[in-house]
């Protein structure tokens, strides 16, 4: 009896695309995503923008101090840029980070892992779908900020913005895969999501300049890739920074971009092996 399996590099790529396509089809069949896509981008940074407006005072006298620390008086764009990167990180944690756990809860994880496809290909496929959806989310964010606040987020050298995003993608998805593996191991995602996003929100200067943080917190911030991404995008958009000026910011980000996916792969492999030893795959 001849099996129909014909394994090749092309068939592995087809499998990755099939995973992405499956995720996209399921995503579309839960209509609440439309509301999330339309309202979140504006609602999310609004609280920080309104707080800043209140602190600036009726005459805007307080914004002088902000401009000195942030290097720009445009606090709305400053907050919007930081929050957009943060939102991306956030939805990646909830998306890619919980995909494996969701498969486990649905009971389909083992069913997938019975197939001869590489198990990491499933994670890559899920990340691919997530990346495509989150890019749509970012596009909606840019349009909504322009329409609601009159703020053009993408400004300055678009090529450099894309360069920062290209370096940020492997960082975010590397963290997402590490996170997803740990959730598969520890089962309880909420506490971990809150911990990670709390760290990012406080240490990376999402809504305020890093200069307001105590020294030790600024040191911690240097070890989080999002700090550099937010800094880079703000420098391009608000100060018109050139590639040479950006290099000190982009170099650490490039290192993170090289290391985090590898760390994600290793964490996933170790977790998968452990799950096979302990029988944790089928446990809820």
């Amino acid at each position: 009896m001849q099996t129909l399996v014909q394994r090749s590099f092309a068939s592995e790529l087809r499998a990755i695309l099939a995973v992405a396509n499956k995720e996209w089809t399921i995503f579309r069949r839960y209509p609440t995503w439309i509301a999330a896509f339309l309202f979140w981008p504006v609602m999310f940074p609004l609280a920080a923008i309104m707080t800043a407006r209140a602190l600036g005072g009726p005459s805007g006298a307080g914004f002088g101090a902000f401009a000195q620390l942030a290097g720009t008086p445009d606090y709305v764009a400053y907050i919007a840029l930081g929050n957009t990167v943060y939102m991306w990180m956030n939805i990646t944690l909830w998306g890619v980070g919980l995909t494996l756990r969701n498969e486990q809860m649905r009971g389909t994880l083992e069913s997938n892992w019975l197939c001869p496809v590489w198990r990491i290909s499933m994670v890559v496929g899920q990340s691919l779908q997530h990346l495509a959806t989150s890019l749509v989310f970012l596009a909606i964010t840019f349009v909504e900020f322009w329409l609601v606040f009159g703020v053009q987020i993408v400004r300055g050298n678009v090529g450099l913005v894309l360069l920062v995003l290209a370096l940020l993608v492997p960082c975010i998805y590397g963290i997402g895969i590490i996170f997803g593996s740990l959730v598969l191991r520890f089962k309880e995602p909420n506490a971990m999501v809150f911990l990670v996003r709390g760290l990012v929100m406080i240490f990376c200067g999402v809504s305020y300049p890093l200069a307001v943080l105590p020294g030790w917190m600024q040191t911690v911030a240097q070890y989080i890739p999002l700090t550099y991404a937010i800094q880079g995008i703000r420098d391009i958009g608000l100060r018109g920074a050139s590639l040479a000026e950006l290099t000190p910011t982009l170099m650490p980000l490039a290192w993170f971009a090289a290391l985090l996916p590898i760390l994600g792969f290793v964490t996933f492999t170790v977790t998968e092996r452990r799950a096979r030893r302990t029988g944790a795959l089928g446990q809820y």
């Binding site: 099996t3 399996v5 649905r106 197939c115």
Partner: protein, 365 residues
């Protein structure tokens, strides 16, 4: 409540595995399992306050739970091998090891000649598996989308996959509902999609873990017919079940598993014949005096008594070496305590009786 009161139980510490070598010479071996063992680490329950548990050295040491304890068997091409045992006997753990989802603690196994530990991807190419429960497929996808998705994960070329999916949908009588979301399917249809998924790559070996659990009687019957059809195509099937009728009807050979060990292995007919010297005397009694169970158990020819208390009728099954001699004694004893016998028969042994005679307990326990 059902209880089994044995007078003679066989030790499972040193199981006697019976086999008649059925099929052994006729066909190639497709599944070979040798001394497979799975031990899970288990942390004992700790009822102490949280602060004490968090202190250094405050957590109790890990213990071991032996789920499968040195299981061995082989399955020949075209054979249905039934693994019959109660819940928690080690059936699912065995299937999960064979399907490469779990790493064995020790022992070896091959599927179509490929080692489950060293050649896991090749093993997965050669087997289709349906695990317990119907959530092995995506409810938010249609039947066709599910199959096309899994075909890609099995590395089936797109054109072949399309054709294979249509063929399976047609064959499993799902073609007219193929483009509806699976969430609208009945349990039987969901299980058929799961079987179609297992058949996608045309694997020579199928592992079916409790395939009819949760199905209505008609769907279960249809599924059993389908399993026989699949076998007739020349596929090798390992089936786990705790339904003795299912094991009896489908399996060429049956391994009875309990507490992680195979305690008997043979054809259903041979297993039943092995306890043929025992009759099963079955009674339905009104106003039965429960303390009589003990007395019946102590009667010389009685091996064990299964009692099922009901209102107002009790069901009793006595495994005896001499039903003819026992019958008048039982009638007299029950009558002397005010019980009225409403029905009575001497039945042929079933696989359930085999299991009881080997373990002293019922399959459903």
């Amino acid at each position: 409540m059902t209880t089994v009161t044995p007078t003679l139980t066989r030790s499972t510490a040193a199981p006697a595995v019976q086999t008649n070598g059925h099929h052994a010479a006729a066909s190639p071996t497709m599944v070979e399992v040798r001394d497979l063992r799975k031990v899970f680490p288990k942390r004992p329950a700790d009822t102490r306050p949280l602060w004490r548990r968090l202190l250094p050295g405050g957590r109790p040491a890990m213990e071991e739970f032996v789920a499968v304890s040195g299981v061995s068997f082989s399955i020949q091409q075209g054979e249905i091998f039934g693994l019959l045992g109660p819940n928690g006997a080690g059936k699912t753990t065995t299937i999960r090891m064979l399907s490469t989802l779990l790493e064995p603690t020790s022992g070896t196994a091959t599927i179509n000649g490929y080692d489950i530990a060293r050649q896991a991807p090749l093993v997965r190419q050669n087997l289709g598996a349906v695990l317990t429960g119907e959530r092995s497929i995506y409810w938010k996808l249609t039947g066709r989308e599910n199959l096309e998705y899994f075909a890609a994960l099995y590395h089936i070329p797109p054109q072949t996959a399309k054709q294979r999916v249509s063929e399976l949908l047609e064959r499993l009588d799902l073609a007219n509902r193929a483009d509806e979301n699976v969430e609208r399917y009945s349990s039987g249809m969901k299980q058929r999609i799961a079987i179609a998924k297992a058949l996608l790559a045309n694997p020579p070996v199928l592992l079916l873990d409790e395939p009819t659990i949760g199905l209505d009687p008609q769907s279960a019957r249809n599924l059993r017919e389908l399993i026989l059809e699949i076998k007739n195509e020349g596929r090798t099937i390992l089936l786990t079940t705790h339904y003795m009728e299912e094991a009896d009807q489908l399996s060429d050979r049956i391994g009875i598993i309990d507490q992680g060990r195979i305690i008997a292995l043979d054809t259903a007919a041979n297993l039943k014949r092995s306890i043929n010297q025992l009759d099963s005397l079955q009674l339905e009694v009104e106003n039965f005096e429960p303390s009589l169970v003990e007395t019946l158990t102590l009667m010389p020819t009685v091996e064990n008594v299964i009692s099922h208390s009901g209102e107002p009728t009790w069901s009793l099954a006595l495994h005896t070496t001499d039903s003819r001699a026992l019958l008048p004694e039982v009638i007299a004893l029950v009558g002397s305590r005010g019980g009225q016998i409403r029905a009575m028969q001497v039945a042929q042994p079933t696989l359930e009786d085999v299991f009881i005679s080997l373990t002293g307990k019922q399959l459903r326990d």
